[in-house]
Amino acid sequence: MVVRQYNEELKYLEKINPYCWKIKKGFQPNMNVEGVFYVNSTLEKLMLDELKNSCRPGMTGGFLPGVKQIANVAALPGIVGRSVGLPDVHSGYGFAIGNMAAFDMSDPTSIVSPGGVGFDINCGVRLLRTNLHEKDIKPIKEQLTQSLFDHIPVGVGSKGIIPMNARDLEEALEMGMDWSLREGYVWAEDKEHCEEYGRMLNADPSKVSLRSKKRGLPQLGTLGAGNHYAEIQVVDEVYDKYAAGKMGIDRIGQVCVMIHSGSRGFGHQVATDALVQMEKAMKRDQIETNDRQLACARIHSVEGQDYLKAMAAAANFAWVNRSSMTFLTRQAFAKQFKMAPDDLDMHLIYDVSHNIAKIEEHVVDGKVKTLLVHRKGSTRAFPPNHPLIPVDYQLTGQPVLIGGTMGTCSYVLTGTHQGMTETFGSTCHGAGRALSRAKSRRNLDYKDVLSKLEDLGISIRVASPKLVMEEAPESYKNVTDVVNTCHAAGISKKTFKLRPIAVIKG
């Protein structure tokens, strides 16, 4: 890493408009393209402070600041356009979380990197609507929360309640949501409203280690720990009445359920296995990167292809996982209200992936190109009329689900044409960490966090209350700042806002 004074570093950064900064070549060695990041004045201060801290003498060797990571990604072989940092960007393994980068499939040196996908492959958010109103929930809120907690196992080491054997898992890995559909856990309409229709076609379970499958099998249908959660939310504010209407949201106070989860231990193991393989491939093909964590392999190499196939299987795992939890959520509601989920209108509004690499077509310098788009902590946000979004959203643009932090709020946005040209149809994914986990544990008390939620009238069930401060709103950037930045920068458009009334988490 180049060590420079903060003032020197600033020379490589240029504010091109109130919501966007450019990272010029030379900020990090060997940059093939420029970097860019989206911030408003509040987030800008956080970004620059992080950089400033890392420039203090004696600070080398710690976490790389997000800006540096964005620039390191810009130095990877085959990258096209720009390395993009979204407003919720914070440092992660290799790639910053909230970083997207696209690589040209026709360039034989282009790479795929597990660090650009993240360890929780196909971590994502799904949103179910209901025809209930907040006042319908109030009298039985505690029972409903408990019922959800009983149906969906949470926490590290939790096990699901949907019986599965090894053969079921193989099929689920290959078929994704089609498996859930075949077995009757989801509705046909759910598949229609899921990114990729809930199935990556290039998934190959034979490329997945036995260890991953062993870890994954008992965990299907569980929420997990960390920042994952299931929340009962109510519509708090509608910004785009037409788009909200298309999603079946027609009034303030309407109840929705948001599920935020991923591929659990399965995806983590797939990523870990791939990193080992890729280090070998890097030596063989002499791929140089600025950071050891940016382990990668050429897309068309054996290691690259194996990773993409295993990653697709992990993505399918995550979709089956979220589908199973959808089934359990519908069951919990049906039991409490003694009505069929159909009659409660519990339709899936959408399901987004925010940790994934996908092959997509984009226009680069006026030419259509096939790219491998890495989105890590970044949500796909395709514009209206894009062929890959469901027919119901053809006129509004793809719904983008932004899960906030525990106890704050969540947003639904839609994709825009400007986002398609500026960020390869990508936008933010959530609040984004401001304090590290360790730091939040030191600075906050879990009792304060829980009582604060109680004061807000939010029911909460957690498996490990003592870790709850890691996920406290104080540990994160303000999701409203993040979303407003995306809206103001034009890379996605606000549709409505949700406020939680009950939370279950690990």
């Binding site: 196992p153 309640i161 077995e183 027919v391």
Partner: protein, 226 residues
Amino acid sequence: MSNIFKLKLSALGHPNPETFNCEDEKEYRSVVLWLEDQKIRHYKIEEREGLRNIDDDAWISAYNTYQNDLVSPVTEGTPNEQLNWLLSYAVRLEYADNAEKYKEAKYEQPKQAAPNVVTSNPLDNLDFDCPAFKAGVERICTLAGVGPHLDPKFRLAALAKILNTKPHPDPPTTEANIIQQPADVLKLLFVQDLRELQTTINEALVAVQTVTADPRTDTKLGRVGR
């Protein structure tokens, strides 16, 4: 045909409806005799001699007389058609004997495997004659420009047609571009076609689900983590 025979024979309580083969002359004749002996009883016992001689060639003529005596409408038909009528006739007699009892019988729906089978359509309970319904239809029809008609249901149907074919937002008030406008129309028509296609796909998936779906949960497997 043999399936129908099987159903009717088992309904009548024949000892072995499963194995009955209507092509076998001997079995055919014995079933006819069984029907007369046990169910139809049109002749006195001593008059059934002609039908009883199953192995005799004269059986055919006895059978023909029997059918004429019963006034069967299919005496000219194939043997299978003749037997089918006889069976139906026997079932009819059986039912008439015990009409009260069979009236109580309920047909049990086979249990469907798909989840959430309970569907109730709130529209089913609508009172189409109440003034509130009529006023509502009147109001929405004025908005959508549907002309007057005596029957509000008729107008509602017209309205549904309009809403189905116009799935788009209000047209922009600004002066639209001469190229943009036809392009938009094409896009909307495309979206409409796509919606129909997707609906057909969903229906196909649901149809398959009724065969394959068997969602299960086992709460004993569950474990909450740390």
